[in-house]
Structures are given as C-alpha cells and as structure tokens.
C-alpha cells in the first residue's frame, strides 16, 4: 500500500533560483496493483519515487508505504521497499552472489535465509550461470537480473521501479515487464515510472500523468481515454499536459 499526500519537493539552484521539482502530488496504490507514473524527462518522476524510497525528504506533504511514514520511519520504509532504478548500479568488483548476499545482510536476514532466498531467486531469474562471476563483466541483461534479485532479497511488500527499462535491449526490457507483472500477481504494491506509452498500456492498472512536477491526470487507461476522447495513449498524454506547446515548453526547461 502506498499513500502519498500533497508531496512537494523544492530545490535551490544557484542560477535558476527555487525549483519546484514536485508540487502537491497525491495518489494511492493498493496491493496487487501497478500504478504507472507517466511523464516526460524532468517531469518529476524520479524525485517523486526517491521521496517514496526515503532517499530524499519531502519539503512538505507526507507519504506512507506499508504503513510506515517516510519522514518519521525511513528505515522501516526501506525495509519494506524494493527500489530499482536505471541509476541503481551493482558493485562491479563483487560477484552477483556476493552482491545479493550483501543486501540480504543489510536487511538483517540470517545467512541461512539468504542462501535459501538466493537459490529461489536464481532459479526464477535463471541466474545460475553467472551467479559467481563479477558484476563488472556482465551484459546489461545479467546486470538487470542481478539488480532485480537484489531488490527482492528481503521480499518487500512494495516495489518501486524508476524507468527500469531505460537503455535496455528489447528482450531484456520484455523480461523486466514480465517480472513487474509477476510482482503484482503475487500481491505486491507496485509503482512504475516511465515515459514509454506501450509499457504503460501493457502494465498499469492506474495511470498518473505527471507534468512539470504536478499530477495533471489520473485514472484507469479506459477512463483516461474516455475523458480525453482519444484512443492513442500518446494523444491522451499530450492533451492531459495541455497540448503540444506545453510539452515543448517543458522540454526547454
């Protein structure tokens, strides 16, 4: 369960002054559901998700994940969250097994539990071939599998995916999409950010369109299509953010 209430984040920038990266964003996501956060680059997706993962503190507003408040119980939130982003890398000089075990230890699991869990995850993700090789020499697909195993080692109730398919080849991206769906089917609460329309269509139960730090539209795919009178999700998106001009203006910033 994820509940965000009026999440706001501002940064100070020497040249541009106060920047409102995220303004007043509220939404909720239930277990067994995938909430898709759709937005252009720089719309505020990553900042929102980083606040949910307690990597950043909200300037104002609050959020609860699995019943824990991000501001007051950050460690408890992280213990119940698996965070996977294009920017969360692996330790190159560790093997996949060492990497996964390290995060098991950091999550306070016993050696025995870690061993059992690694076996299970390696079976599921088909990782046995490269489990004892160093991550620096991995292909992107192997890296992504290892990262997934890393986020799942403590079997978190909430999964946060920040553009997990960024820069991946088609096959690896497909595998990730399938994996995200599996997470939902097991009853996890999933939030998924992307700017790729087809992934949203394939995955998301609820879609939030974020633009310039604000949540401008929210609903099921069918609901959004009906509201904006467009079948194509890209057209829905452009209408929701206020037309072509708004998209162009946002990109300039």
């Amino acid at each position: 369960m994820i509940e965000a209430h009026h999440l706001t984040k501002t940064f100070k920038d020497k040249k541009r002054g106060l920047i409102h990266a995220v303004s007043d964003v509220s939404f909720a996501c239930q277990p067994g559901q995938i909430y898709g956060l759709l937005g252009a680059n720089g719309a505020g997706k990553t900042t929102t998700l980083r606040m949910l993962a307690t990597l950043l503190q909200p300037t104002s507003g609050s959020a609860k994940l699995a019943g824990h408040d991000v501001a007051t119980a950050a460690n408890a939130v992280r213990a119940n969250v698996g965070f996977l982003a294009a920017s969360t890398a692996l330790y190159g000089r560790l093997t996949a097994r060492e990497m996964i075990r390290y995060f098991g230890q950091l999550n306070g699991l016993s050696d025995e539990a870690i061993r059992a869990r690694i076996k299970l995850l390696a079976d599921e993700l088909d990782m046995h071939d490269f489990l004892d090789r160093r991550c620096e020499k991995f292909s992107t697909g192997m890296k992504q599998k290892t990262s997934i195993a890393r986020t799942l080692i403590h079997d978190p109730a909430v999964m946060i995916f920040d553009e997990p398919t960024l820069g991946l080849d088609v096959m690896t991206a497909r595998a990730i999409v399938k994996f995200v769906r599996d997470c939902r089917d097991r009853g996890k609460t999933v939030i998924y950010s992307t700017h790729i329309m087809s992934e949203v269509e394939k995955l998301c139960d609820v879609v939030g369109i974020i633009h310039d730090g604000r949540l401008v539209a929210e609903g099921t795919l069918a609901g959004l299509r009906a509201r904006y009178g467009e079948q194509d999700l890209e057209e829905v998106f452009v209408k929701a953010v206020g037309g072509e001009a708004a998209v162009a203006a946002a990109l300039k910033n």
Partner: protein, 410 residues
C-alpha cells in the same frame, strides 16, 4: 548505531577494496616497496655523490704570486690540489665548474712575510657548490698551515714557547646516546614520512568509497538499504582508516627490516677498503632508532590517522566523480606537508601553543620521542587535542552523509 551493520559494511568494503588495484597499490605496494627504496636509494646516491666529490682532486688556479715562487711551488706540489695555469677568464671557469676555486696571492707576499707582514690572500669559490666548497676548504687549510708554520718559526727565532699564542687546547665530544643522534638525524624525517603515508593510504579508499560509488551509481543502491546512515558512514570510515594505518604500519615495518638488512650487508662486507667506505656511508643513513620511541610515534599517529580519514572522506563525499574528488583531495597533501616540513626543521621545539596545531604538533612530538625525550604533559595534550579534532571531523562526515544535497548533487 548497530555494530553488526557496521561490521557488515566494513567487511564488504574491505573485500571490495582488496580487489581494487588502485587502492592496493596505494595502501600496500607503495608503502612496502617504494618508500624504503626511495628512502635508502636516495640516501645511498647522496652518500655516493658526496664521497665521490671528496675523492676528486680539485683544480685550482693561482692568480698572481709571480714574486712568491715558494708558496706557488708548495701549492703545486700539494697532493690534494691540482694547480692549473692561470687564465684571464678564471671567474667564468669557476662558474663553469672547469676550475673549482682560485687563490689570489698579493704582490710581494713572500717578501712581506719575511719582513713581518704580508697583504691578504683572497680565496675565490662558488658559494653553495659542493665541490667548490671542498676545494676552497683545502686552500684554506693550506694557508692556515702556512700561517701556523710562520708563527712557530717566529716564536722559535725569538726563543719563545709555542704556548704563548696557544695557551690551551679544546675539543668536543658527544655525550648523547646513539638513539638521540638517530632521533635528531632521522627524528624529523620518520614522522614526516609517516604523516604523508597515513594521508596517501587514506586517500584512495576514501575517494573510491564515496565519490567513486556515486559515479558508479552504487551509492544510490546502498542508500536503498534499511541500514541507518550512520552505520554506513562508520563501516566505510573504518575501511578508510584501515587503508591509512596499513600504509603507515607496512612502511614502518619494511623500513625497519631494510635497515636491519642493510646494516648486515654493510657490516658483512666491511673487509675491503671500498666496502668500509660504503659501511661508513651506510652507518650515517641507518640510524639506531629507539623502539619505544617508534611505538610512541605509532600511538600518537592513531588519532591523526582518524582525522585524516574523516576529513578526506568528508571532502571526497562532496564530489560527484572520482576525478572531481582527486582534484579536491590532491591539493590537500600540501596542507599536510607544510606543517610536517616545519616540524622537520631543526630548532623548532614544542610549546603549549604549537601543541594545539594539528599535524605540526605530531611532527614535533615524534621528533622528541624518537630522541628519547618524553614530555608527558605535551604528549597528553597532543593526544587529547588530536582526538578532539578527529571526533569533530568524524561527526562532520556523518552529517555530510545525511545531507541529500551532498549525496544527490546534480
């Protein structure tokens, strides 16, 4: 704060660092091999150059002295000097190192000497040039002896005793124990080397574990774990401290071993004349260091190693990339070298004000301890103040680690 977490982070960082060639070179290879090699190599070359300069028979030029053939002939016969024919460009020749020194014998020198008083003899040398210095020393010795002989002859002529002009003799003798001599000769340079190695040993792990992790994207991964930030900082910090201390201890151990080995080698080959010379040169460089003093130095360096580790960690944490961290941390070495060099200078002694200056106080107290002097009040003050500085730096590192604008600097 949870020790299990700290140990988990530390052990992972240790494993990771031991697989990193850059870190390995800086905390193990350089202190073990390069520093002693540099130390003894440079020492040996310096000793070799000096003894070679001593062996050389310097060329000197006599200016004037046509009417003093006796003195000129005596100079020419001297085995320690080689007189070359006079040339008008003698100054240039001294500058060009073709001639080491020149002597101006004033007109009518011998005649004047016989009559009672002669004009002054002027010696020309190139100040600061080692070989020119040796040459002018020889010339000076020659003329001092000539003067002494003249005095003796005059006293004899007048049937006066030699004690009239030299009523007593004096000489000096060393009472300092051998450790004290070692302390003075190397008391400055050993703490200096230790301070530098402590710093460079901390440098690479500190940059790799902070800016390096940010650059590679693993910092964000690590921050996703439920471990409290302070545990992450302390685990990482312990690894940096390990680097610093291992660099220092390894270099001390390897310097100690090479000192013993070099001593045995030189002592074993002392039979032949040449080897005896080498042994003398070697003995000058390999001092007897008081082991208690060395132990004291290691104890005093501990809080400073903590200080270095925490400061470099904090500075490197601010950087976005390894390269950026290098450009911040690199110049810091000058800040470390300056007080260390000042401490190495002879004549600067500890007082209460200097005892509070970080690094300089360490350098000074180490010099004292290595020469067998134990000022316990200063030692306590320096150890205490170093601990306070280290604690401040460490808490600063924790605070920086908690700042999201530092950890996620765009």
């Amino acid at each position: 704060m949870n020790w299990n977490n700290i140990v988990t982070v530390y052990l992972k960082e240790l494993k990771d660092s031991l697989r990193d060639r850059r870190t390995l070179i800086s905390i193990i290879v350089i202190p073990t091999f390069v520093m002693p090699a540099l130390f003894f190599g440079v020492g040996k070359i310096a000793a070799g150059v000096v003894s070679k300069a001593r062996e050389e028979i310097p060329s000197v030029m006599i200016l004037g002295g046509e009417d003093s053939p006796g003195v000129a002939a005596e100079l020419t016969q001297s085995k320690k000097l080689k007189v070359v024919p006079m040339a008008p460009d003698w100054k240039q020749q001294i500058s060009d190192k073709r001639v080491r020194a020149a002597v101006l014998i004033p007109p009518g020198f011998e005649a004047g000497l016989k009559a009672g008083e002669a004009g002054p003899v002027i010696l020309y040398n190139y100040e600061g040039e080692l070989k020119s210095g040796f040459a002018v020393n020889e010339l000076e010795k020659f003329f001092r002896e000539l003067r002494d002989r003249t005095v003796t002859a005059r006293l004899a002529e007048r049937a006066l005793p030699a004690t009239l002009v030299k009523p007593f003799e004096f000489k000096r003798e060393n009472v300092a124990p051998p450790e004290k001599v070692g302390g003075n000769l190397l008391g400055g340079i050993v703490p200096y080397l230790i301070i530098i190695l402590c710093f460079t040993g901390a440098m690479y792990p500190a940059m790799d574990l902070t800016a390096g992790e940010k650059e590679r994207g693993t910092m964000e991964t690590l921050l996703c774990s439920p471990v409290p930030r302070v545990d992450l900082v302390l685990g990482k910090f312990l690894m940096v401290l390990t680097g610093s201390l291992s660099a220092m201890l390894l270099s001390l151990a390897s310097m100690g071993i090479s000192a013993v080995v070099a001593g045995m080698v030189f002592a074993g080959g002392a039979g032949a004349g040449k080897a005896a010379g080498a042994a003398q040169g070697g003995a000058g460089m390999i001092p007897i260091i008081d082991p208690m003093g060395l132990l004291g130095v290691v104890a005093m360096v501990l809080p400073v190693a903590v200080l270095f580790s925490a400061v470099i960690f904090t500075v490197a944490l601010f950087a976005k990339s390894y390269k950026e961290a290098q450009s911040y941390v690199g110049p810091m070495i000058f800040i470390v070298i300056m007080p260390a060099v000042v401490g190495m200078l002879p004549g600067i002694d500890l007082n209460f004000r200097l005892a509070l200056v970080p690094i300089l106080n360490l350098s000074l107290v180490c010099k004292e301890m290595l020469s067998g002097v134990w000022h316990w009040n200063f030692i306590a003050l320096i150890f205490g103040s170093s601990c306070v500085y280290a604690a401040i730096a460490l808490s600063l590192a924790v605070r920086m680690f908690n700042r999201e604008d530092v950890m996620f600097r765009a």
